[in-house]
Amino acid sequence: MLIFEHSRPGRRAQAQAPADQAPLEGIPEAFRRRKRPRLPEVSELQAVRHYTRLSQKNFSIDTQFYPLGSCTMKYNPRACNSLAMLPGLVDRHPLAPESHSQGFLSAMYDLQEILKSVTGMAAVSLAPMAGAQGEFAGVAMIRAYHDARGDHERREILVPDAAHGTNPASAVMCGYQAREIPTLPSGDVDLEALEAALGPQTAGIMLTNPSTLGVFERHIDTIARMVHEAGGLLYYDGANLNAILGRVRPGDMGFDVIHVNLHKTFSTPHGGGGPGAGPVGVSERLAPYLPVPLVDYDGHDYRLLTERERPDTIGRLSAFGGNAGILLRAYIYARMLGAEGMKRVADFSTLNANYLMKRMVEAGFTAAYPERRATHEFIITLKPEAKALGVSAMDFAKRLLDYDMHAPTTYFPLLVPECFLIEPTETEAKEALDAFVEAMVKIREEAEQAPEKVKGAPWNLPVRRLDDVRAARQLDLKWQGENR
């Protein structure tokens, strides 16, 4: 039932709004709204009950194992939320004077320093509001760098074929062409193909390391050297930073610019699809181009630097300073981990992934890169099961939901057929991993004995499989009312 269907004309949540309608003095009739929008008219209890009930139709980290590869669905500490919502922080206006901003700004300055330290970059801007915006900012800085040198011939950004779809999309938003580089069967980038693709038209390369294939790019220093020799710059997509946090720093690998997904590595909430935060870090030569605002400290006061103090900046990416409340949560998380805790993130996410991969292989499933060490995630291919039993990776994924576990990422990366990209994260206990293996084994048994059970899954959720084709062909994007 939709909230609109609980609505009755004249019913109101009385305590929530001012008691009277004040006249709109000074606003001529021509500017005023004539017809009220059809918003729900419900009591406070009805609204609370409706949305509480809706929440119960969701899987979430707080309620289920959520091994969604490439998304780092780890525990989001509650303290990060409650402390970011303290009065004084949660009600601070973005344009408040510096006299009323030192607490917030000091936290942001410290976060910049922490991110510099864990990424090995020379300077950091917290401005980007999501990973994709970080990518945009990063590529825009690469472009600003080449442009400032009068190097206008560089039109291409190289992107491995295993990359996230955002990489080529971000390159295009910066006015570049994206050129794909193939991956070898080992999971490493094809260096010969890279060599052939590099040239005076190369602006840079976008890499995720560990890659989306769940393996560490072993020739990263060679790649860095080749790209730099061709005059290009290296962009690090921080999607998989969780795997190496505190162990390896992208700056040391030779990257010139990086974005960090705080909603992955720094455990800020995913919130049903955002808000995220995607700070960018850069080497010295790109520092002038960082997006504004930045936070500066003169040993006495903290203050914001904007276009005025940073004339070469690529500019601003939002009306104010980005997703500040998310940055606060990440700051709190980072302080709770400390230096030792950062390294533990890499250690235990890697331990969990390698353990789970080994258990899956022992249970008869097929690892896509069996010869390689798993990083914080790994891929299995269900192609043998699909061939022998006629059940797809999608069927396995849907049946896992019946077993009260969120499915891993399916059909990504596109290079591996019928794949599961599995990322258990460091915050899951061994018994959760064991339970996952057990569920997968059971589903395979079901697929052998009663395949319709798997192909028709899920059975125990609020709805069964949804008709995507109908959703796209007969677009129903808003409630039209009962009588329409």
Binding site: D468, A472, R473
Partner: protein, 130 residues
């Protein structure tokens, strides 16, 4: 095995072209292409009057899981588009060789001979699958 009529010409990017006479060809996507894409939910049509070079992107077919560009098989001008596909993209799934997407006035009818015939296309599809 998908259907590949003998009387049509084909491209390696899975378009078909049918000579309609008077220098006009109708263009659509092959049975193999629609099978790969699955249930189509949208077709973005080119505009009539557009001049296209052979190999130019000129339309998009979309399913729920993929979107594919349609390339012009020949040089020419778009003279007609199949407006009915806007409301019923599924026509391409149901009868791929009837549901033409656009018609082209060929700049050089001799170019038709450069396209693959049914046997060559069948071979290309076969090769792609392995």
């Amino acid at each position: 095995m998908s259907e590949i009529p003998d009387d049509l010409k084909y491209t390696s990017t899975h378009e078909w072209a049918r000579d309609e006479g008077d220098g006009i060809v109708a263009v659509g996507i092959t049975d193999h292409a629609q099978e790969l894409l699955g249930d189509l939910v949208y077709v973005e049509l080119p505009e009539t009057g557009t001049d296209l070079g052979a190999g130019a992107e000129c339309a998009v077919v979309e399913s729920v899981k993929a979107a594919a560009d349609v390339y012009s098989p020949l040089d020419g001008e778009v003279v007609e588009v199949n407006e009915s596909l806007a409301d019923s993209p599924e026509a391409i799934n149901e009868a791929p060789y009837e549901a033409w997407i656009f018609k082209l006035k060929m700049a050089d009818p001799a170019q038709l001979d450069n396209l693959m015939d049914a046997a060559a296309y069948a071979e290309a599809v076969e090769a792609e699958e392995h």
